[in-house]
Point group: C2
Chain length 157, copies 2
Amino acid sequence: MPSDQQSSQPLTASEEAFVRELSRVMLALPRAVDADIVREAGLPLSEYTPLMHLSEAPGRAMRMSELAAACNITLSGMTRVVTRLEKQGWVERTKCAEDGRGWNAALTDAGLTRLEQAWPEFLASVRRHLVDHFKGQDLNQLTVALRHVATSENQPG
Amino acid sequence: MPSDQQSSQPLTASEEAFVRELSRVMLALPRAVDADIVREAGLPLSEYTPLMHLSEAPGRAMRMSELAAACNITLSGMTRVVTRLEKQGWVERTKCAEDGRGWNAALTDAGLTRLEQAWPEFLASVRRHLVDHFKGQDLNQLTVALRHVATSENQPG
DNA sequence: CGCATGTACTTGCCCCGTCAAGCAACTACT
DNA sequence: AGTAGTTGCTTGACGGGGCAAGTACATGCG
């Protein structure tokens, strides 16, 4: 690989267009989906996402740090989200048995109900805004590429 | 198309994986690129982007609302960004000749220089984090899909 | 055992961007 | 021309999330 030489070449027209369109989507899509589920289900994406992950976890509970990682926000951000969720009664904090420093965020029955109410609108919104536009495409191939993107970002360059 | 029936079907496994991986990328990628150019060039993405658009505009100037639209943020958000840029001397506000209510944000020479300093790192970062992972893919097809996503988001549903 | 180092979470401070409201200037209608 | 309504931008209040520092517990090493 002719390393550095190559990274200072401008992007091709196709690459450029791709980058710009993706930038646009990265800003607009979350806002659109968030607006939909806030309007239709009264639950912002920032709260929907952790509820979803919790509902899939064994025992409907996860350590704070796991949950933060799953939702791709920092632990400190997750502290605040869980505080909000706890106030509304969707989640409870329980001390972690194996590690005195750790806490589990556990989904309550009320939280699960709330999630189930919001789920159809979330699904519809994601279909409408995103999935439907990728009909003829090889999603698996795309997903692999995205996975590489997501993992490469951990080591800054 | 069997419309509504379909939108309440759960996603297929491929769709689900795609949505989740994209969500991850949408959060992580901007942070990664931002961190890179802040570290290497001292310019956050939120300021790089408007400078870039201005540099490409005729006369290196754009109306506030155009610039906001180009950067996919609200006009009020752009007011604040431009205020920051102005303080640093990269941009000047000039009254719009044709419309007394309007203002142009104009890139200064210093701003252009600043942008040119940051550009290589931006380019390298975008290549490293994003473009390089899409080597064998049909970017044009992808870009078209993304464009549909971006435009569909304007009409909420 | 006792101290140094490391890890899990929380909190304070701050940046960024949104929304709603306000102001100025343009447009249309009479 | 005068007034009503609209548009372009700014401002105030606010929420979300990041980073760095603080706290509480855990672990390793003398």
